[in-house]
């Protein structure tokens, strides 16, 4: 199983029946492909839709029905559309049960940086800051390391996305949560030891008595 599939499949296990879920671009988008059989959740696209469906078949796309990246999507029966004030009312108001976002860095206190690299990448935060500030649960889905450097850091060197810590980080090698505000290793990827995870993690991780393997 490749890294992205591990992450997406593990994140999908966090979804609960009836959840309203917002997926960011990149790896988070893949989570939709791994929703457990029979589990009903609602996916929100922050450009104004609840009930996003898969990419439409050839010839069925409509230019006025797209995801937040402007790419054609479909809508499921029971979908609802709304303006951006409503969309962010849902997000900021705590009506989104889970948001899954990508990350550049998450630190030992659960703080996320995912929207800019000063002087290099300044695209704008879009909806990320509202999602992290307002969603009930924030899950970060990202590679554990980039260019050989751990993305789980002691303290974020990049500008924070929110003062509110995230709830969970799922990477290709570990699941990390923040009970009591402290980064804690909850699971390792199949076949990896705790020591192997710690060896490539910059942040200090608390290690509970039991650290099971991800069940994928």
């Amino acid at each position: 199983m490749d890294a992205q599939t591990i992450i997406a499949r593990r994140v999908a296990q966090e979804l609960r029946p009836g959840n309203l879920v917002n997926l960011g671009i990149g790896i988070p988008t893949l989570v939709a492909n791994h929703v457990p059989e029979g589990l009903k959740v609602f996916f929100q696209s922050e450009n104004g839709l609840i009930g996003t469906g898969p990419i439409p078949e050839q010839g069925m796309a409509h230019p006025l029905l797209t995801d937040a990246g402007g790419k054609p999507i479909s809508a499921l029966p029971g979908a609802a559309t709304f303006d951006s004030a409503m969309s962010f009312g849902l997000i900021r108001g705590g009506h989104v049960d889970i948001t899954v976002l990508g990350g550049l860095q998450v630190d030992a206190g659960g703080h996320l940086a995912n929207w800019m690299i000063p002087g290099k990448m300044v695209p704008g935060m879009g909806g990320a800051m509202d999602l992290v500030s307002g969603a009930r649960r924030v899950i970060i889905a990202m590679q554990h390391a980039a260019k050989g450097k751990s993305k789980i850091v002691g303290k974020c060197s990049l500008p924070l996305t929110s003062a509110r810590p995230v709830d969970m980080v799922v990477t290709d090698i570990a699941v990390i949560a923040f009970p009591g505000g402290k980064a804690t290793l909850m699971e390792t990827a199949p076949g990896l030891t705790i020591a192997e995870v710690l060896a490539v993690t910059e942040a200090e991780l608390a290690i509970p008595d039991m650290v099971p393997e991800m069940k994928l």
Binding site: S84, F88, R92, P123, M125, M129, S133, P159
Partner: protein, 215 residues
């Protein structure tokens, strides 16, 4: 409400005007008005738009000829021209959170001075802003935003300017239609009064100043 051509509508906009443009990555943007802004070479535009779209689409077109001097938006990452002009300091770009962006415009349209949002507290976004505590929780005071013109794209307009929108093309259009001194609308379909049921009207006609006639 008056009916005008796209050419007449854009001719009313002076250089240097602040212009809100509806749309999200070019979806729900009044494309004909953007084309006309390009053709009439309007310059010094203070653009208020969620994003910079992509080159050749929606507000993306305005960056190619350097028509924008300032922008307030939330994301310009998919338009390399806009990125490049910002990094070269040729244009000033205020990038703000999307929920804050839409609430500031809504406040401007609804006569509110601003709103208190938790978004941005403890980040770069809080710089220069008043922090206000309510029941022990900290919020940023984000002030109302208005523009000289709003360019709005609807799905249906009736003859008196009642508007409805389609799918994800609604986005920022309804709030912008309330927040500008002059509101100019294009619609995919112009229909007789009564075709849009009262419960399905999203933007009531009295908010619309000019409806661009279809070809």
């Amino acid at each position: 409400m008056k009916s005008v051509s796209a050419e007449e509508a854009v001719a009313m906009i002076p250089n240097g005007a602040s212009i809100m443009v509806g749309g999200f990555m070019g979806v729900g943007t009044p494309e004909r008005l953007l084309d006309e802004l390009v053709r009439q070479k309007k310059t010094g535009i203070a653009l208020i738009s969620n994003d910079a779209a992509v080159p050749g689409k929606g507000v993306g077109k305005l960056f190619e000829g350097g028509q924008v001097s300032r922008m307030i938006g939330t994301h310009i990452g998919l338009n390399p021209k806009a990125q490049q002009q910002m990094l070269a300091n040729e244009i000033t770009v205020d990038l703000i959170p999307q929920g804050t962006f839409v609430e500031r415009i809504r406040a401007g349209g609804c006569g509110l001075g601003g709103v208190l949002t938790p978004t941005g507290v403890g980040t770069l976004v809080e710089q220069g802003k008043q922090k206000i505590e309510v029941n022990g929780k900290t919020f940023l005071l984000e002030t109302a935003l208005r523009a000289d013109f709003a360019l709005v794209h609807a799905f249906l307009s009736d003859y008196v300017g009642n508007l409805s929108y389609a799918l994800t093309a609604r986005n920022f259009n309804p709030v912008m239609a309330m927040a500008a001194d002059t509101v100019i609308v294009t619609a995919e379909h112009i229909v007789p009064v009564g075709v849009i049921a009262p419960d399905h009207v999203v933007t009531p006609g009295p908010l619309v100043d000019y409806l661009v006639a279809n070809g």
